[in-house]
Amino acid sequence: MNSLQVELPGLNLKNPVMPASGCFGFGREYSEFYDLNKLGAIIMKAATGEARFGNHTPRVAETASGMLNAIGLQNPGVESIIEHEVSFLRDYQTPVIANIAGSSLEEYEHVAHSFNETDHVAALELNISCPNVKEGGIQFGTDPVMAARVTDRVKQASNLPVYVKLSPNVSDITAMAKAVESAGADGLSMINTLTGMQIHLPSRKPLLANKTGGLSGPAIKPVAIRMIYEVRQHVSIPIIGMGGITTAEDVLEFLLAGANAVAIGTANFQNPFVCPEIIDALPETLKRYGFSSVQEVVGKGILT
């Protein structure tokens, strides 16, 4: 077995590195830079029931070692994604994970169900952590009961493994993780962005049209590592770790904390080749720190 290989529910990954949802579109643009077959998997941009335009611009802002985004789930809708995007990705031997979002339980079910019809989507990533995703005023992403409910409904609607993507904007991340595990989640994705804001001094207004946005990039890495480390000790389903990864060393840090695989978001913007470069650097990096396989590293950093 290849030293980088990772087996997760529904995903047989040649390496543990995948672009994170929303930071790689549907792969087309980056396919002009390199062969997408290099990637462990591809996580597509969020799909909703219907096409959405998203928020007004500006939608991004730079912060110290990070960025804020408030794209607002812009996407062409699940039908169009299946027809135009999944079909494009079918030409690659790289598992595709569909990130699904919605504003109601019904929309989640509908989107999840739609992906049953297509081959070449290997798993769902259930995005419950988008700030505009709530029902009855309660956010799915911050209430364990709601999170469990949407997980359960999506599991029933889908025949694919479901990775629930957790929000870091909570008092108790372990409670969230346990709730979705009990509700049948096959895996976790963590972390999504921290909610933040920047105020533009010349205009004296929040810079983003949406006012708040999601903070990502190296700035949030310590929060991601802490949450994965904590959750790893209380759930047994696998974790796809993300938040500020820019190097192969960062990947090792996530694996040590308990992630089984990783996703890379913001770093793609700085360096479109970051995913293949990290994949190429991984074998040597594993060796330098005394490991012979990715599998071997997972959770090794946990002190008990």
């Binding site: 929303g22 643009e29 002009e32 913001t266 913007f269």
Partner: protein, 249 residues
């Protein structure tokens, strides 16, 4: 578009807070079209900075950029010394559509929107077009490339405070331009709105700015609506140049 390393060959402050920087890279200089931009990685910054290509010298394998200090990124860029290497994605975006039938062309630039029009103007002159330029700046201290544009054709300088050229906005001059077939405009959004309103019955192209994430079309940061039903274009990939009727300003 590729990820390339460019070498700083020269960097000069040519007007207040405005720098001209010559960058060497053969792929970029050989392939760049007027209106395209470079997405520059500036040390210590998470996001790249989009800067237009203001001119190209294929003999010397160089491109020139012109930028104004706006915030921390452009401030750091101004500190780059000759010999430094800058990483860029480029040439990015679509560039200006050239229309073979047009014979007289109006260029309307505002402030740091002027640079891409220079590259375009040179190309149009090469293609035997007649060029008229209207360039607007805040004050005299910010005026740049007046001589360069005068070499391309009739050039009107406007400053907001009248400290140089005529006083007012570029739109105050447009009315006096006898005749032209197509216009190309780049500058701050309020100016583009005024121009495209004023010239609503003319054929024209505008180059837009928006805060960018990826710069390659993947992140949906830089969209501009094309209608009220969710239609949109991405400025980084489908633009930065659009036909004035294509987008909702």
């Amino acid at each position: 578009m590729k990820k390339e390393e460019l070498i700083v060959k020269n960097s000069t402050e040519i007007a207040l807070e405005t720098y001209e920087m010559v960058l060497e890279n053969s792929f970029i200089s050989m392939t760049a079209k007027p209106g395209q931009f470079l997405h520059l990685l500036i040390h210590g910054h998470t996001l790249r900075r989009p800067i237009s290509i203001a001119s190209v010298d294929r003999d010397k394998n160089t491109v020139t950029i012109l930028f104004k200090i706006n915030g921390s990124g452009t401030k750091h860029l101004a500190d780059y010394q000759i010999g430094s290497v800058i990483n860029a994605l480029g040439p990015a975006g679509n560039g200006f559509t050239l229309e073979p039938e047009s014979s007289t062309i109006l260029l309307i630039g505002g402030g740091i929107g002027v640079p891409p029009l220079y590259n375009l103007g040179k190309k149009l002159v090469d293609n035997q077009k007649k060029i008229i330029s209207i360039l607007g700046f805040q004050t005299k201290d910010y005026v740049f490339y007046e001589q360069e544009f005068k070499q391309l054709g009739e050039t009107h300088i406007v400053t907001n405070d009248g400290s140089y050229g005529s006083q007012g906005f570029v739109t105050d001059v447009i009315g006096s331009i006898a005749d032209f077939d197509t216009y190309y405009s780049c500058g701050p959004l309020p100016m583009l709105r005024a121009v495209s309103k004023e010239l609503v019955h003319k054929n024209g192209y505008i180059s837009l700015e928006e805060r960018m994430g990826c710069g390659v079309g993947a992140c949906f940061a830089c969209v501009i609506p094309t209608d009220h039903n969710g239609g949109y274009r991405k400025i980084c990939k489908d633009g930065p140049v659009f036909h004035h009727q294509e987008v909702n300003l």
